[in-house]
């Protein structure tokens, strides 16, 4: 089997391994092995003082031209280098041993430069591919949850591949960009959309959290930087073919609320004088309802989605060329109808270098195509939103036709009484989908123009093209009203094409040298340019022929004379229903920067890094365009000092400190938003009686300027007894000149105007700890935990004033999104009316917004983290990861509506309404019907704690042991069973406590699912 596959791939091999070994005339050869005498492929051999170098092949053999008297230096990552003088012998075999410290991981600190972990002075967390491997999330970002201290990630929807909000060390902007910059193989990529990328291509993820690291990306690094490196092959590595597959299913999580059953709701309807069930007419009675029916609509509306993944990855390397390539297919179904993701991806990462090692070039490219189907109206109050229906549909409605099939017609009309049928009808007949092409490519080249001086350049591209197609079928209930109740043809097709291209070019000159063997210096200068172009256009066409539904619509000029007898047609009764609506737009943004960095190291014990950069953004006026950002960082590797060098207890002890500034030019957060805010603008639009009109469309604030974040970080890395590793970091992060859309007088017609109005700080502690309890060849057991505590505080607002924002308000001394509400104090037993607390805390029956107070509750969690364990015995292993979010609050509008007494006739209600106030003396938490609807008042009645602990991932796997592998044609094989989001503990009354940290009011959003899969990995 192995041979066959290799034969099939032989042509590939020919291309990949162009370089065979040539014998040199004056050569030294030999083998390089590790302490266990295992050959080391890819070890570096150089002739000291020359540019001659070589690498060992897959058998650990090297071959290098060297004269007697020259010195060979052998080195390998994580091993101590060895130097050997060339004597008479032409064969030199070398054994390298692991360096005193544990394997020295390479950490990507920025602009493609790697740094041995020991020499990093910044707060950076690295996740390797093992932490991402095999997790079934469509977007790799979801997999990072709970694995990196100080990084808060929350999925905003359960749609497969949906975006997540990501905060690194708290929220750093009020309305500007808050999400970290994502760099993939040196290219900045769209941080809002990863659904098209294959998570298995990722080799490592480095999260740059402090000021010195993010200052390297000064113009965009204020909210942190996430540097992603995709997989590559080593030079001189043998062909590795890896096949992976997964299959499984997604299911909704268990709801944490209880709705009324048929008997209960009918009784409540009668009791409160809204006898909808009793008032049903004969049509409804005949087809839809019955006192004996008791439907749990959540069971009908939700379903189990299927998921499938196949991937094949190849890697191989010759002496000067290496390649990693992968091809994958992924499919994941959502937990409601009409929601899924299909994805096809490929990647090819090429590296090439010159024989003399002076020139190297890597070309990384990935092409991806995905198709997402979206369900109808999640997060909205539309009655076709399946999540709304799942909770609010009346249980006495019969979901099935007499023949047992699902009833997706109802009475073939809209209305609250037939709500679930309208929803099922809409999900069945109407569609919303996006097709996306995402290409990310980069070319990185470097050349050593003279010893110690390297010239490098990069060109990167992130190309995203999205085609949206939304169809409302003429056969659907919703289609009956579109384009018009009276039109002959019905239905509509919305189509949009959006193209987002981001270019990035960068050139640099780097000088590095070592003086007196102990002073290592690196100085580099860079010039960088970034440009983003967003283009979109689209249309809504009307009048679909159901026979060719999908890509057709009526001619715009079609004329109809509804209700007019033939011969009476006149301009007065002419209707042109089918005129399509079209739109087109373009936005461009540019950034230009130049910057310099300095790294200094003394003997691996002390180190100093510094950077400074100037950035210009096209968003600001000429006077405010440029911003200057800088950083310094120092480290002390205490465990390298003589007094600890021989310690049996302390393996690693490193103290770090850094201070740096970085900027944010995204005034409204998104990459293309806010480009109009520094200009006074007018737009052309629709005027009176379908004439052309001009309107003011932007009110300028020319004073807008860079938002700046300054961060101080002090951290400690430690390792004890070879069993314990940990990090501890303290930070103080202050953002000034905050962008904020401040209220403006309505007399201007611009109710908000963006300003730089204040300052905010985030202070926090992060810790992570890995402990290995048992480490034997057969049995391993380790636990890991990380936690972060972050306190957000607005330290300054314009004029110190309080800025209201509905449910929340901003005030100095309080966190962002602090709830500012009237306190709900229960129900007056005498009248059944709500009781509130006034601003002083005294009970009052009057609801008055002037009684709002700050509640010390915010949507921003203060505590986040995760913990897990890993146990393995021989090939069997069990890994579990728990994640938690603490001290986070949100308005539960989904639950609030289930307790609204004014909707008793229209909707099903919570069982809590059994306790509705009925007569004087009733002591209950639910006001009487006469109190009306109170859920939309600005009170804390439905402000709930959304903290949760979740078994995020548990995986049981078996890896074939060597003895077995010897008998099968695989080099490794692993089979596993896993569950994502299996159990959640939370007080939140809903489907899912997880939501964006910015979400103030939750209203029937798409909850994150539970995903169960079985998978297989095989390498040849």
């Amino acid at each position: 089997m192995r041979t066959n596959l290799q034969l099939m791939l032989a042509p590939v091999m020919l291309v990949l391994c162009m370089n065979s070994l040539f014998a040199q005339e004056n050569f030294v050869t030999g083998s390089v092995v590790d302490q266990d005498n295992v050959p080391l492929p890819g070890a570096s051999v150089v002739v000291v003082g020359t540019t001659r170098g070589a690498q060992t092949n897959f058998d650990g053999i090297y071959n290098i031209q060297a004269e007697r008297g020259e010195t060979l230096r052998f080195s390998y990552l994580g091993m101590s280098a060895v130097e050997v003088l060339v004597g008479d012998a032409n064969t030199i075999d070398v054994q390298l041993v692991e360096s005193a410290e544990m394997l020295e991981e390479i950490v990507l600190v920025g602009y493609g430069s790697g740094q041995v972990k020991n020499r990093v002075a910044s707060a950076i967390t690295t996740l390797s591919s093992e932490a991402l491997d095999a997790r079934p999330n469509a977007s790799f970002v979801q997999t990072l949850q709970g694995q990196i201290p100080g990084v808060q990630i929350a999925a905003v929807s359960g749609q497969p591949g949906a975006n997540s909000t990501i905060l690194v060390r708290g929220l750093t902007s009020l309305s500007g960009n808050i999400e970290p910059l994502f760099i993939m193989d040196g290219v900045p990529i769209d941080e809002t959309n990863f659904r098209s990328l294959n998570p298995n291509d990722i080799e490592s993820i480095n999260v740059l959290k402090d000021g010195s690291a993010s200052a390297l990306y000064g113009n965009r690094g204020a909210a942190g930087v996430i540097v992603i490196k995709t997989k590559s092959a080593s030079y001189n590595s043998k062909l590795d073919i890896r096949y992976r597959t997964q299959t499984g299913f997604t299911t909704p999580q268990d709801p944490n609320f209880e709705m009324m059953n048929t008997q209960e709701i009918i009784a409540l309807e009668r009791q409160t004088g809204n006898p909808l069930f009793d008032a049903m007419n004969s049509d409804q009675r005949a087809f839809l309802v019955g006192e004996g029916i008791n439907t749990n609509w959540a069971d009908i509306i939700t379903l189990t989605g299927q998921s499938v993944m196949h991937e094949i990855a190849l890697s191989a390397g010759g002496q000067n060329v290496s390649n990693y390539s992968s091809l994958s297919y992924f499919e994941q179904g959502g937990t409601v109808r009409g929601s899924n993701l299909q994805r096809f991806t490929f990647r090819s990462n090429f590296s090439v270098k010159s024989n003399d090692d002076r020139f190297d070039l890597t070309a990384n490219f990935t092409g991806n195509f995905s198709k997402s189907n979206f369900t109808q109206g999640p997060g909205t109050g539309n009655i076709y939103n399946p999540w709304l229906v799942a909770q609010l549909a009346k249980p006495y409605l019969d979901p099935y036709n007499p023949d047992g099939s699902l009833n997706t017609v109802g009475l073939n009309r809209d209305g609250f009484d037939v709500m679930p049928y309208v929803s099922l009808n809409s999900t069945k007949l109407n569609s919303r989908n996006d097709e996306e092409i995402k290409l990310v490519g980069s070319l990185n080249g470097g050349y050593e123009i003279m010893p110690n001086l390297r010239l490098a350049g990069r060109f990167g591209l992130d190309y995203n093209q999205r085609n949206d197609l939304d169809i409302i079928s003429p056969l659907s209930i919703r289609g009956q009203e579109i384009p018009n109740v009276g039109s002959e043809l019905k239905g509509q097709q919305f189509e949009q094409l959006e193209r987002d291209v981001q270019f990035n070019t960068n050139a640099s000159l780097t000088y590095s040298n070592t003086f007196s063997e102990k002073h290592q210096v690196k100085v580099a200068g860079f010039v960088e340019f970034n440009k983003g172009i967003l283009d979109n256009f689209g249309f809504t066409g009307f009048g679909i022929d159901p026979r060719i539904e999908g890509y057709n619509f009526a001619p715009g000029g079609l004329r109809e004379f509804p209700g007019v007898a033939p011969g009476d047609e006149s301009l007065d009764n002419l209707q042109q229903y089918y005129i399509p609506e079209i739109f087109s737009g373009r936005t461009e943004v540019s950034l230009f920067s130049y910057f310099g960095i300095l790294n200094y190291d003394y003997d691996g014990v002390y180190g100093l890094d510094a950077s400074i950069r100037q950035d210009a953004s096209s968003r600001f006026s000429d006077t405010n365009k440029w911003g200057t950002f800088w950083s310094v960082a120092g480290r002390w590797n205490i465990s390298r000092e003589k007094f600890l060098a021989d310690s049996q207890v302390v393996d690693l002890l490193k103290l770090r400190a850094s201070y740096g500034t970085s900027g944010n030019d995204r005034i409204t957060g998104t990459r293309y938003g806010g480009t109009t805010l520094t200009s006074n603008l007018y737009s052309v639009g629709n005027g009176y009686n379908n004439t052309q009109a001009v309107y003011a469309s932007s009110l300028a604030n020319p004073d807008l300027k860079w938002e700046t974040t300054k961060q101080l970080n002090v951290g400690l890395d430690f390792g004890l007894l070879g069993r314990v590793r940990g990090t501890l970091d303290f930070y103080d992060k202050r953002t000034s000149d905050l962008f904020y859309a401040t209220p403006n007088t309505l007399l201007s017609t611009f109710p908000i105007i963006s300003r730089n109005i204040g300052s905010m700080k985030n202070t926090g502690v992060e810790a992570s700890l890995d402990v290995t309890f048992v480490d034997t060849p057969d049995f391993n057991w380790s636990v890991n935990a990380n936690a972060a505590f972050n306190k957000n505080e607005i330290t300054e607002l314009l004029d110190g004033e309080l800025i209201e924002g509905g449910q929340v308000a901003l005030q100095e001394g309080r966190p962002f999104n602090s709830f500012y509400l009237v306190r709900w104090a229960g129900v007056n037993p005498a009248s059944g009316q709500p009781v509130y607390l006034d601003a002083e805390g005294n009970p009052t029956l009057d609801y008055n917004t002037s009684n709002r107070v700050f509640l010390d509750k915010s949507t921003l969690p203060e505590i986040t983290g995760g913990f897990g364990t890993s146990i393995s015995y021989k090939g069997l292993s069990l890994d579990a990861l728990f994640t938690f979010v603490g001290d986070v609050y949100r308005q539960n509008d989904s639950y609030g509506i289930t307790e609204d007494p004014t909707l008793i006739g229209a909707l099903n209600t919570s069982v809590a309404l059994k306790d509705i106030w009925q007569e004087p003396g009733d002591i209950t938490a639910i006001p009487g019907v006469s109190a009306g609807s109170t859920r939309n008042l600005l009170t804390d009645r439905y402000l709930e704690n959304a903290s949760y602990l979740r078994l995020r991932n548990i995986i049981l796997s078996y890896r074939l042991q060597q003895a077995t592998l010897d008998r099968v044609p695989f080099s490794s094989a692993r089979i596993y069973l896993q569950a994502e989001n299996l159990v959640t503990w939370s007080k939140w009354r809903g489907f899912d406590p997880e939501a964006s940290v910015l979400l103030i009011e939750e209203f029937f959003t798409y909850p994150t699912p539970r995903i169960l899969t079985i998978g297989l990995d095989i390498s040849f």
């Binding site: 006074n680 009176y688 309505l746 007399l747």
Partner: protein
């Protein structure tokens, strides 16, 4: 060495590319007009005026206020739409009041921008008259918008020193203006009206600001401010000019095919808000009303009166089952023109002005003329014994004639001191809802929107709504 030169070449190229990239930073937003090039020609001003008319949406918000009167009840298809408002829940965040404020000031802001634009326009020969007409319409719209604001938000119509709203004759950007007094705003309106009278062309027609619209506006203002002699005279001048519609023309008027008694209306097309959506879900298979005509109003409609046929949608209603659908705006898709001034209102103004001045017979006679037209037959004249009695009768007539045209709430507010009654619903219309807004309730004066108070430190709230 060759490759060295190559690399240097590539590098130099890259640097040059980047330096040229610096130009890219001067990036004006794409697809917009700037301050400099928006108003260059007369046509551009016309586009500005078209935008001003499009922003004159106050009438639909006026009509929405009929919901908190005795004209409406909760409809058969209600899913809670407007129920809070129906229950007199009116606070500084109520969108009904907020919309009135925003719409009026959006119109005023647009007018002031176009008036500024007049300064930058280069006229061609022969365009002077057209420019005068554009300016006249802008002044007329500014007067209309300020009156809308005053009638809703002023704390009084008759006390000149009472708080009204900011009167604005310049382009507000970030200025935080305090409220002017009633007499200051009225002076501003009068000034705008007189500018408009000088400039507006007589031939504009009923869908645009025209000289008679200015007169009708003034008549309405004078009625509210208690200047009854002038109100009567102004209304009388329009009564001379416009006949009352006969029964057929009256029906056709609400189907938008007859303008016999229309003085000013706002044209509505499918691109605009469909007025019927205040009461109906605008979906197929309907009509699905979430609000309906109240029993109280239905009982007052006489089947012999054409207004029974117009206000009440008999074909789709079942009065025996408490089903009374509103029929005044029933064009396809509920797209109907909004009648702002009709001559029948002038009859009612004239009658009320007469009654208030003690001419009870004249009042009765004017009322009879209107009823004769509506019944298509000779009706029995009323006989009043006091101005109060006459005003109550005129109020009842206004309730029928001007139903669902945004008058009821203001009529009750305006006359409540004289009549001693607030809003009282028929018990059938409020079985579980609130039935009454007492005569002295603060909610007869809508609140200044919270959004304005938040964005304007100099703004003051109306009494009763907290700080």
């Amino acid at each position: 060495m060759k490759s060295f030169i190559k690399t240097i070449g590539v590098f130099t190229g890259a640097i040059l590319l980047m330096i040229s990239c610096d130009d890219q930073l001067d990036q004006a937003p794409i697809g917009f007009l700037s301050d400099e090039n928006t108003f260059e020609t007369l046509e551009n001003l016309q586009q500005g005026l078209n935008g001003a008319y499009a922003r004159a949406t106050m009438q639909e918000h006026n009509i929405r206020f009929d919901i908190i009167t005795d004209e409406v009840k909760i409809g058969a298809e209600s899913g809670g739409q407007s129920v809070d408002f129906y229950n007199f829940n009116l606070n500084s965040q109520s969108r009904e009041a907020d919309s009135l404020w925003r719409a009026s000031y959006a119109l005023i802001n647009q007018v002031n921008r176009v008036l500024d634009g007049v300064e930058t326009v280069e006229l061609q020969d022969g365009q002077e008259a057209a420019l005068r007409n554009i300016r006249g319409q802008l002044f007329g719209l500014r007067a209309y918008a300020h009156w809308e604001l005053l009638q809703w938000f002023a704390t009084s119509y008759t006390d000149g020193a009472a708080l009204a709203v900011p009167y604005v004759d310049f382009v507000v950007t970030i200025e935080e203006l305090p409220r002017n007094t009633v007499s200051e705003v009225l002076a501003g309106i009068e000034n705008d009206l007189s500018m408009a009278r000088d400039l507006v062309a007589a031939s504009n027609g009923v869908e645009f600001v025209n000289p008679d619209m200015l007169t009708a506006l003034e008549a309405r203002i004078k009625l509210y401010t208690g200047e009854y002699a002038q109100a009567g005279a102004l209304a009388g001048s329009l009564i001379q000019k416009y006949p009352l519609a006969d029964r057929d023309a009256y029906t056709a008027m609400f189907g938008d095919t007859d303008n016999t008694e229309v003085i000013f209306k706002l044209r509505r097309t499918a691109a605009d808000f469909a007025i019927g959506e205040i009461w109906y879900f605008n979906v197929g298979g309907g009509p699905f009303p979430f609000l309906e005509m109240s029993n109280g109003l239905f009982d007052r409609l006489d089947p012999d009166d054409v207004r029974y046929d117009v206000n009440f949608w008999a074909e789709v209603s079942a009065p025996a089952d408490n089903s009374h659908l509103i029929g005044k705006y029933r064009n396809p898709g509920f797209v109907n023109d909004l009648k702002v001034f009709r001559v029948s209102e002038m009859y009612l103004i004239q009658a009320e002005a007469a009654a208030r001045q003690g001419n009870l017979t004249d009042a009765a006679q004017t009322l009879k003329q209107l009823r004769d037209a509506r019944f298509g037959s000779d009706t029995t004249p009323e006989s009043f014994s006091s101005p109060e009695e006459a005003v109550v009768a005129i109020l009842d007539e206004r309730r029928i004639e001007l139903a669902f045209e945004g008058h009821r709430y203001l009529d009750i507010r305006r006359t409540r001191e004289l009549t001693g009654t607030g809003i009282n619903r028929d018990p059938r219309d409020c079985q579980v809802q609130n039935c009454e807004l007492p005569v002295s309730d603060y909610r007869f004066n809508p609140p200044v929107p919270l959004a304005e108070l938040v964005g304007n430190d100099n703004m003051e709230q109306n009494p009763g709504y907290g700080s």
